[in-house]
Symmetry: C2
């Protein structure tokens, strides 16, 4: 399994490239539109064929490269069966999967940050989008977010995985690149030792400013990152 | 083997935490002074004992946390036997090593970016400092840098390692986190297919501005990141 973690410094977004080295079939998780040339060059240099571009959810802070990757490579775009981007080629629910060579990318429904949030599991690597961050979690105050739902998703779905499962989040703002399920169960300040009610109260009192790109990124991402109002329309 | 890549966004520096999971003994490679609280907290949370703080070279763009880590944890600081920081507890030459539990951190002399540049090899992971970057290399125009020496270091020492060796650089400015020796041999635009003379000409014509922190960072780092002129002296 070939694995690369890539970073967009403007939005602090992590993009992940995963491939079966024997067949060269690859996926990108959460590709960022501004980084498409970097990511396509890396695929070319490594001799990979991009099969799927997956989004963990409809992002509010950056525009996905998924639609452009589909246009330029023939890859299929993948989003959540519930809500999300109905422009996607493939829409996965809980337990849904796509395969590349001998690897399986399994979707786990982890709503709460948004109603369409998926995590993806590939062997012992878990890509959590904004459901679970390193020592944090995504906010729950727009896009049908729900702290109660996020608490269930993290504690019942993600924390049910083995402690050694490697956690690769959708963002980090402090220079950390990965964690593990065991570490987050023990040390995540929003979740470790917190009851459901304490978590809900904490999330309902964050009082965060809206993401700067909210009103641009959400409609664009519902259209797979393509301009939702094409020129001339 | 526990492995964590950490990033300082101001200087685009990668710091690496490596530990033997069975004994909890750990090293930090190229720790950044501004990130010391993050890195010590991570060691605490993971139950690790920091044994060594290693610098790949005397940095010109950020101040090392090595001296402060030594003061606060009792870890030994490690620098190059040639040039470098003579304040260090341990000074390694080519082939020198330190051990943590069952892991060996082996030093490879790779001068050229600076005269004191070491790379560190731990199993199949190579920490190259600024000798070899992802699709690039460190500049060679100060601190006794030498393009001829860097060409020898990279092509004779680093490219002699197996193609599958994972390359973890001291910096990246484009959001890439790792590469391999095979990839850099084939795709590094400064080195792939370039003769020694072509490389020297290329490096001598970069015309880069000096690093902003050059005159602060170099004397501080020669003192292991501690104030080289203590107050009152």
């Amino acid at each position: 399994m070939l694995f690369r973690q890539l970073f967009d410094s403007e939005s602090c977004t992590y993009t992940y490239l995963i491939a079966d080295e024997s067949t060269g079939d690859a996926v990108l998780i959460d590709p960022v539109r501004e980084q498409i040339e970097r990511d396509l060059r890396l695929c070319r240099e490594l001799g990979l064929t991009l099969r799927y571009a997956l989004d963990t959810h409809v992002h509010a802070d950056h525009i996905t490269a998924a639609g452009d990757l589909r246009d330029r490579t023939g890859a299929s775009t993948v989003s959540c069966a519930t809500g999300g981007a109905d422009c996607a080629s493939i829409r996965l629910g809980h337990g849904g999967e796509v395969r590349i060579g001998g690897l399986t990318v399994q979707a786990l429904a982890t709503p709460g940050h948004t109603d369409d949030s998926l995590s993806f599991l590939v062997e012992n690597r878990l890509f959590t989008g904004d459901a679970l961050l390193i020592r944090g979690c995504g906010r729950t105050d727009f896009q049908n977010g729900s702290p109660a739902q996020l608490y269930e998703s993290v504690t019942q779905v993600l924390f049910a995985l083995p402690d050694s499962t490697q956690v690769y989040p959708g963002h980090d703002y402090t220079g950390q690149t990965m964690s593990t399920i065991g570490e987050e169960r023990r040390h995540n300040p929003r979740l470790a030792g917190k009851s459901r009610d304490e978590f809900i109260a904490l999330m309902n009192n964050l009082r965060l400013a809206p993401p700067k790109k909210l009103h641009i990124a959400v409609p664009a991402n519902r259209a797979c990152g393509k301009d939702p109002m094409p020129q001339g329309v």
